[in-house]
């Protein structure tokens, strides 16, 4: 003699399955959202680092361009042709390399400023020289054509 499940028992079985499916869905959703949030945070941090690196590179170029009177680094670079500097900002170490090079024209020099840093989320956070580091380079040129400055009376 067979026994048929009562409607109440049937409902209990379905509720369990639905709950399991719901939990699985919720788990997937939360995992995805957390993963996306982590990725977003990492990418936002990377953008911030890139912006900081860009500002550092631009500041360095402007400093070197302004000449030795206004920028002590300019004199150092002119004498050695190469210069390195390290700055830490918001917990990230930025290594700034400035380099002068000859061009085909006399009285005109090439100038390159490279900023390296360790991107957010990668290993060895305090060693910007490891492979996979963030890097940004700005290249420009510098002419020796002088600025006329009016001599002032003593």
């Amino acid at each position: 003699m067979s026994q048929h499940p009562t409607p109440a028992r049937q409902a209990q079985g379905f509720t369990l399955i639905e709950a399991l499916v719901a939990a699985a869905l919720l788990g997937l959703g939360i995992t995805g959202a957390i993963s996306l949030a982590m990725h977003s945070l990492q990418a936002a941090g990377s953008s911030r680092q890139q912006n900081i690196a860009l500002t550092l590179a631009q500041n360095t170029i402007e400093c070197l361009r302004s000449g030795p009177t206004l920028c002590t680094d300019s004199a150092a670079l002119a004498s050695t042709g190469q210069m390195q500097e390290t700055q830490t900002m918001s917990g990230t170490v930025y290594q700034i390399n400035s380099e002068l090079s000859a061009t085909g024209l006399a009285r005109l020099q090439g100038m390159q400023v490279t900023v390296k840093w360790q991107p957010t989320g990668s290993s060895s956070p305090h060693n910007p020289m490891t492979p996979g580091s963030g890097q940004l380079a700005l290249r420009t040129r510098l002419s020796s054509v002088p600025v006329f400055v009016q001599a002032t009376q003593p």
Binding site: L36, A37, A43, T103, G104, R139
Partner: protein, 407 residues
């Protein structure tokens, strides 16, 4: 609610929650993408800006080199297409500069334009450099003004006289010429005979008695002009005897006192540039520098009291004899006869009517009847270009504070 519906409601709620989370995630991702794009754009824009800056620096160096090798060749062309809309007036001379391209422009296309005002400031050029990247659409723009050795500051030793010579002056017919000295009273030399300034100044007078001094008699023997022609104006000569001008090595005393550091070649180049631009006495602004190599008589009236001109009869034009200025022709400004210190080249000259100053590095024997010389205080305005004090006008220099980015 029935027990059977509870599961469905839970499932629906969870699905909605997951969808909501997905939408939030998507919007976050989109915002992140925008931020990332912005950061990349910032880098591209900075690279374009630095490339434009590099183009400007390269252009300045090339211009400097060009002026050190062939100083008057740089402005021998004009390309109207290179004039920016703000510089489209007839006085603007424009050209593009082909840059040395043996460097990494990082995929940017470069355009360098050089512009100058050939009337008001032919010694100042505006260099405009642009870098554009075709794929990321970034562009950089910088400009800088520079002083060019195309002219120099005017002389500081110029004399206030309508006629400056380096030798003797005589009239073909006594009393047939007219000199209106500065400070004439009334102004304009009306014939009242009340002028009180210098009517004729000569930088050289022969020392006839050889005593080392120039006496009044020696002065009058050299500047032998009738009193009625002088209209009350005085004669001015050096107090001491000086060596006679040497045609074999003609000094530039007269030229320098008038034009200062501007050389004849520079004056000729500016004249050619103004002609190249189509400037004339009818344009606005009018042409201000005329250099002529032609021996033909000059019959064009040029210059006004508010816009005087400079007219140079070159050594070529004066090779045998300087061209006359036709009677009735009026020149307002400065006239220079390059006689190469030879009186014979200026003999029997006719000045027309000159309001300003005539300068001759020799004497002017037998001035023809009807020649008029009227002093005009601002006669050097045509070549008194705005130079800063104490500048070395022989080299290319940046104008301080003229650097601009972004147009």
């Amino acid at each position: 609610m029935k027990t059977a519906d509870r599961g469905a409601v839970t499932l629906l709620t969870v699905t909605l929650l997951v969808m909501l989370a997905s939408m939030v995630g998507l919007f976050t991702a989109r915002s992140l993408l925008t931020e990332r794009l912005g950061a990349n754009n910032g880098v591209w824009a900075a690279q374009a800006q630095q490339t434009a800056e590099a183009a400007l620096e390269t252009a300045l160096t090339q211009i400097e080199q060009s002026f050190s090798t062939a100083p008057n060749a740089f402005w021998s062309t004009h390309d109207p297409q290179q004039c920016l809309s703000a510089y489209s007036g007839v006085e603007w001379q424009c050209r593009n500069l082909l840059l040395d391209t043996s460097w990494d422009t990082q995929g940017h296309t470069l355009l360098v334009r050089v512009m100058r005002d050939v009337v008001h400031a032919p010694h100042v050029a505006l260099v405009h450099a642009q870098a554009k990247h075709a794929s990321n659409h970034s562009s950089g723009l910088v400009q800088q003004s520079i002083y060019l050795p195309t002219a120099g500051p005017i002389g500081t030793a110029n004399k206030a006289t309508p006629l400056l010579t380096q030798g003797c002056v005589t009239e073909a017919v006594a009393g047939s010429t007219r000199f209106c000295a500065p400070d004439a009273n009334p102004p304009g030399c009306s014939g009242s005979g009340q002028s009180i300034g210098t009517a004729i100044q000569s930088l050289y007078v022969p020392d006839l008695d050889g005593n080392g001094l120039i006496s009044t008699a020696e002065q009058q023997a050299c500047l032998k002009v009738n009193a009625s022609s002088l209209q009350g104006g005085a004669l001015a000569t050096p107090a001491n005897a000086l060596p006679a001008p040497n045609p074999a090595a003609c000094d530039t005393a007269v030229w320098t006192s008038l034009f200062g550091a501007t050389t004849p070649a520079q004056m000729q180049a500016i004249s050619q540039a103004q002609a190249l631009k189509g400037l004339s006495s009818q344009t606005l602004p009018a042409r201000t520098v005329y250099w002529t190599d032609s021996p033909a008589e000059w019959s064009q009236s040029v210059g006004t009291a508010s816009a005087p001109v400079v007219l140079v009869f070159s050594a070529t034009a004066c090779a045998s004899q300087c061209p006359r200025i036709s009677p009735g022709t009026q020149i307002v400004g400065t006239v220079f006869l390059d006689t190469q210190c030879q009186d014979s080249r200026a003999a029997w000259w006719h000045s027309g009517s000159v309001s300003g100053q005539v300068a001759v590095p020799s004497g002017l024997p037998n001035l023809q009847s009807g020649s008029q010389f009227v002093w005009l205080a601002n006669h050097r305005q045509a070549f008194d270009w705005p130079w800063p004090v104490n500048i070395d006008a022989t080299r290319v220099q940046r104008v301080r504070g003229s650097w601009k980015s972004g147009g």
